[in-house]
Symmetry: C2
Subunit: 177 residues, 2 copies
């Protein structure tokens, strides 16, 4: 990603948080993570993240998704002898379509953004709704037309260990000037 | 507490969440916990709580405090061979005065609501500010004039194990008709 694209996406995410009345500090705004997963198509596959806390016992983040933006399919394997990351997604604003293993939705609400998507059991989250994923569950999610903000409560986060279905994904971003 | 007092406090907390644009489900509203800690003076010492998730790995809650309402001084001891609960308080709305061991504030912003308060090192949290408490840290907190909403991210919560400085506290409420 080019630095200018990161700055633009960061400012857009900050504005969405502001409109949802979710306060972040100036430092959190400056550090807001823009992840394109190394795929180079941030608008369709990407995620904007504010990490509130990630210690050895728990983690909490705010996830911002632009309209129809998708977090690519992945799972969280065991790390260092601990079970894989367990996550609760709580929708704060907008609408989110979450997909996990199980009976596929006959007409998914999400627009499948690529070929590396294999689970299609649909959970629709609206503000106040939440869903807890057991460890090692394949999942992906997409925002609706208005974008979305999702609080993630979880066990500790080790992003670099995540296993993505798309072999082209690079979770840790490469920034070009 | 009388059931009527609980219903009134619950409705007031729901209205504060609504004003802060924090969505909760109808079920969460119906289950919203009103804790007077068995002290019978909810307005000065009490807390309103929405538990989002509390599993064996992590916990997340929304805490609602009425103007000047105080969560009494307590700490979280080790339980079942696990270290005491570790907590991150993140202010979402209003202003919170948090007190922990350390150099006492010369002029605390909180109005100390009783005699069972022993730590006075002050941390002021405004929207977007947060503070992480190590396990077994004595602490108490009070909202400012507008009340406050605080997200709590933590290791698993075992409320009945909490140790309060005031020997009269009963953490699990007694409801009268």
């Amino acid at each position: 990603m080019k630095r200018s694209e990161i700055v633009q996406a960061r400012n857009r995410a900050i504005e969405m948080l502001r409109r949802a009345s979710i306060a972040i500090t100036a430092e959190e705004a400056a550090d807001l993570e823009v992840a394109d997963f190394g795929l180079g198509r941030l608008e369709s596959e990407g995620l904007e993240i504010v990490v509130y806390v990630n210690n050895d016992r728990y983690c909490a983040k705010e996830l911002v998704l632009f309209p129809y933006q998708t977090c690519p399919e992945h799972k969280h394997p065991p790390v260092g002898g601990r079970p894989g990351k367990q996550e609760t997604f709580r929708c704060r604003a907008g609408e989110v379509y979450l997909y996990v293993p199980g009976t596929p939705a006959p007409a998914p609400k999400a627009k499948v953004p690529g070929e590396h998507y294999t689970v299609f059991h649909e959970i629709v989250l609206r503000p106040g709704d939440q869903y807890t994923l057991p460890p090692e569950t394949l999942h992906w999610f997409q925002a609706g037309a208005e974008g979305a903000i999702v609080s993630e409560f979880s066990s500790p986060s080790v992003d670099e260990a995540d296993v993505f279905t798309d072999p082209n994904v690079k979770r840790i971003p490469i920034v070009e000037d």
